[in-house]
Structure formats: structure tokens, C-alpha cells
């Protein structure tokens, strides 16, 4: 995972597998950065995610709650068809900005 802070945008480049186990360590790192930078826009980039279960939904909901405490918004970037399927199953699609972005070659 890589976190990039640029002005009022914080981009979290998630990678690998997101489950209940990996979430435990990801969460603290992301939340510390949100609290330090209080971004206007928190971009959760799922481009590097090879697997996720409903823990990934917990990750989105939890970060959304914290970012909104600081007046920020959350966008979801580069979600694969599979990640989108989980987001739809959770009924989150209407309340999330899901942005499609073409990866640079």
C-alpha cells in the first residue's frame, strides 16, 4: 500500500488481498494519515487489489465515516468488476463516487 498526499487530496493505493486479517494493519496506517492531513478528498484506489471480501466494504465505510468527520469526501478509483460487484451487493453504489480512470501505460 502506498499513500500519496497532494494538497487537499489523499490517495490510498491499496494492493494485494483485503480481508479481515490484512485490514487490521491497513486501517491504522490509513486512519493516521487521514487524521494528519484531514483531506477534502480521500481517494481509495483499488487498482492493485487482487482479492477482497466484505472486509473491503468495512474498510470503505469506516474510512468514509472518518473522512466525513473532517469534512472530506471519499471517491473509489479503479475498482475491478469484482470489487464493484461487492460494492453493489452492499448497496453502497448510490452513496459513493466511483471513478473510472485509465491506467497510464
Amino acid at each position: 500500500m502506498e499513500i500519496i498526499n497532494s494538497g487537499d487530496r489523499l490517495t490510498v493505493m491499496l494492493s494485494g488481498e483485503i480481508d479481515h486479517h490484512t485490514l487490521m494493519s491497513l486501517r491504522g496506517t490509513i486512519d493516521a494519515q487521514i487524521e494528519q492531513h484531514t483531506p477534502r478528498l480521500l481517494a481509495l484506489d483499488f487498482g492493485g487489489v487482487s482479492f477482497m471480501d466484505s472486509s473491503g466494504i468495512g474498510l470503505i465505510l469506516g474510512r468514509k465515516r472518518i473522512a466525513e468527520c473532517y469534512g472530506g469526501k471519499v471517491i473509489i478509483k479503479n475498482a475491478s468488476g469484482y470489487v464493484e460487484k461487492l460494492i453493489r451487493l452492499a448497496g453502497l453504489a448510490p452513496m459513493l463516487a466511483i471513478v473510472k480512470e485509465v491506467h497510464k501505460a
Binding site: 480481508d19 466494504i57 469506516g62
Partner: protein, 145 residues
């Protein structure tokens, strides 16, 4: 029921075994030649069931989770995930989407919803203080149908 192949796996309920369990199950299910989407569905369903054992069945201890996988009737993947933990008092309530007994932490309450919608069949049996058994099946369509 014709059982074409099977395995039995017992793992302790360490959360680091979540990744191992779904990878092992996916490797077994691969012999049905599933699509990437089908294998992702199976991995997610297994991940949810194993996580439930770790978080809910054994909240305060490490104990065994038994996973039995089968290929049945030539084209169907069968999986049973069983614990001897706390059990579920109200299965109907536990299966409601967004219902979670987990106050701290961040369980989305979607475990059963994922299992139910990603697999063809889901059967949950549970007894308080005896444990829970989850049986799921998914037919893997032949590419040549």
C-alpha cells in the same frame, strides 16, 4: 450423491489463515475449470465463512476450523466449514444483511449476504455452545455447454 474428489483440512483459527484457507480451497476447485469470476466468488464465500469462525465462533480463543471440500456430480463444488465455537442463537437474524454483533472493529455485516449471493446454495446449522456448520455448493458450468 456422487463424490468425485474430496479433501479435509483442519486449521487453527488464526486470522492469518484466512488467506491460506481460501487459496487452498481455490486450488482444489480449480479442477472444475472455473472462470476467474467463479473462483473469486468461491474464494470470497470461503473467506467470509472462515472469518466468521475466527471472529464470532472463537472470539477469545484459538481453536480448530474444519474445512471439507468435494467435487460432486461431476460439475459441482461443495464446501463445508465447521467450528465447535459459540454457535448462533438466531440464524435468521445473523443472516440479515448489515446485521453484525461485532461492536468494535468494522465488520460490515455482509458475510452471509456474500455467501448467499456468490454461491448457489447455502445451508447454516448451528447450536449454541456446540458450534456452527456452513454448507455451500456452486455448480461450475462447463465452458462447452
Amino acid at each position: 450423491m456422487i463424490i468425485n474428489n474430496y479433501f479435509r483440512l483442519i486449521i487453527p483459527s488464526h486470522s492469518r489463515n484466512e488467506g491460506f484457507a481460501r487459496a487452498a480451497v481455490a486450488a482444489f476447485a480449480a479442477q472444475l475449470d472455473p472462470t476467474v469470476e467463479e473462483i473469486n466468488d468461491i474464494k470470497a464465500a470461503v473467506s467470509e465463512a472462515v472469518t466468521n469462525c475466527i471472529v464470532h465462533a472463537y472470539p477469545d480463543k484459538i481453536a480448530d476450523i474444519e474445512i471439507v471440500g468435494r467435487i460432486i456430480e461431476g460439475d459441482t463444488f461443495y464446501i463445508r466449514i465447521k467450528d465447535k465455537g459459540l454457535g448462533i442463537a438466531d440464524i435468521k437474524q445473523a443472516m440479515l444483511p448489515l446485521f453484525s454483533t461485532c461492536e468494535e472493529g468494522e465488520r460490515a455485516g455482509l458475510g452471509f449476504a456474500v455467501m448467499e449471493s456468490f454461491m448457489d446454495k447455502l445451508r447454516v446449522t448451528s447450536r449454541v455452545d456446540k458450534g456452527t456448520s456452513i454448507i455451500m455448493t456452486k455448480r461450475v458450468k462447463s465452458r462447452y455447454e
